[in-house]
Amino acid sequence: MRVTQIAAVAAALTMTTMTAQAGTLQDVQARGELNCVVSTGVAGFAAPDDNGQWSGFDVDFCRATAAAVLGDGSKVKFVPSTGKTRFTLLNSGEGDILYRNTTVTMSRDADLKLTFLGVNYYDGQGFLIRKELGINSAKDLDGASVCIQTGTTTELNLADYFRVNGMSYEPVPIETNEEGITQYSANRCDVYTTDASGLASTRAALDDPSAHMVLPEIISKEPLGPAVRQGDDEWADVTRWVLNALINAETLGVTKANVAEHAAAAGDNPSVNRMLGTEGDMGAMIGLDKQWAVRAIAHAGNYAEIFEANVGPDTPLGLERGINASWVDGGILYAAPIR
């Protein structure tokens, strides 16, 4: 008797963990929490602080999305992932959206069944090396030991680059950026290679950043962007337009400080009015209310503010905007209009 009772209880417990998958938007709203897949720790992009609070560039985009969808940017659960586990976490439903320095590629889009929403950081793969080695070009790296994160596009780029240039190297595989820093500082490898933004973050974390340099060669295109599961277009629309709104807000001059003011009444610029819901109802098209973009921007500011606060020149990472400047400022950051 007791056995059957226990079995019944166990079965009941198991059942409660299974919830039917309706639209992700409805799931998120019913749950009251957005599950955002981030890295286990890349300084400036996503890392927990002393109190276990997550912060960083990617984290702010997650929070802005939560603010738009749920009305509260703190209602985010961060799901830490390694380069290897990230897609599995997303595809198995552990996460609703992936913001983890992920390169947009064709095979990921088509074969791994993801939907990419756009690009939030244009990056390229570079090399970090000790100045004392006296190397000035990636073409001189023949025979070097290279620390490389497994399960990333950089791993494949690296193999191709050395092969094409007829050079040999020793790959030292690592799982996370933190491991990369440990191995590189212990001098297990001569060179650390990953996206240039990650290299800046790594260099900042080293004991003496001035003893290290990033080589001028950028060997690949790494457009980093958020992704969701394929097959839920409604949810893809919501998240894509939150990203676009944050990028557009910069060119339209809407900031964290003045967004409330702009949203209070319709102004002169129809683009701003449409985005902030003072004219028409763009939010209804993606299943949200009129104020969706207001909340997203109010949480951490527009793209420029998020950039400056987490990875910009005044932070330990000290990254320049470069090609990530808005198109009006000579960069290539260009978002589709909200219309």
């Binding site: 380069g83 080695l133 070097a144 497994t150 399960g151 791993e155 212990a186 297990r188």
Partner: protein, 394 residues
Amino acid sequence: MESVEQKRNIISTLWNDKEKRAVIIQIFSIAGLFALVWFMIGNAISNLDALGKGFSFDFLFQPASYDINQHLISYTSRDTHLRATIIGIMNTAMIAVAGIILATVVGFTLGVLRLSKNFLINRIVYIYIEYIRNVPVLLHILLVHGVVVHSLPNPKAAMTFNDSFFLTKRGFFMPSPDFESAMTVVWIALAIGIAFTFWFRRYAKRVQDETGKIFPVFLISFGAVVIFPVLVYFLAGSPITWEIPVLKGFNFKGGMVVRPEFLALWLALSLYTAAFIAEIVRAGIIAVSHGQTEAAYALGLRPGRTTQLIVIPQALRVIVPPLTSQYLNLTKNSSLAIAIGYMDIVATIGGISLNQTGREMECMIIVLALYLIFSLSISSVMNWYNKRIKLVER
């Protein structure tokens, strides 16, 4: 009404008859199992369909596109996933074999030292064993790897022996042999030596059984297996040339190399398993009763012969079965190589290949099958050995 009653009776007689009940239970469990398997396969098919993935091993023949830093046979990033898998298998086999040898040597030594009457040694070994056994093996691997990487020198300041062996943070570089054609003669000599030893051992045993005459078996075997081939080697004009590693640019080139990841994993796994083996050996030796040793002395056997002929064979009977499971554990624990980036089965096919191709199902099936094969082969070898040394009961 009556028929219902009867039916109930039939059921209860069926249920109360032990044999029939057994048949019913078995039929139900087979049905249940099949239903479960059917259910899971059905789900897998519809899930894979929904993702548009399909199930095929074709990806194994596509280029792997990634590099591996330690390979016994040649490998480049243009080779297939299949070849990467084979490299992974070889690396796992290498760590398992090397680990088992070192763990056995260290384990037996520690086990004997643990029984030493010397108080200090006894305590040190005890503390060491307790520390090793009570800390997870993953931590040992990470710690040893940290120590190895930190304490080894950079290539430019390499520790060197005889200017042909170099120990650096990039690995242990050794000269690699290059065999000339005359080497065949040496191989033949070696084969003859081994064959002779097998025959001679049997012959010596027969002579001893019949006449009691004892040959210096060890010396003669040593001569046949080692000295004879070495003599032939020099007579043939030393037909091996050695390629000596040379420091060029960043790193040593040429020769053979063992990466620090291998060294760290090898040390950590061997030392971990050795602590368990030490306890097994200790228990085995204690299990041989003192009367056996005394009886051997009474028969006039010297202490060395006593250990060799009386104590060890009996202790082995107690030691071998648990030793087998330690060997299996070591092999399975080698899968933790992934934590420090040693490219074994899990890191190649179960790691990078899986991740770059998105073929979770196929890759995991291959990994599980490979480990099952490894485990089965080790346990069958050890079972064979166990049968050989078992007490012959009449």
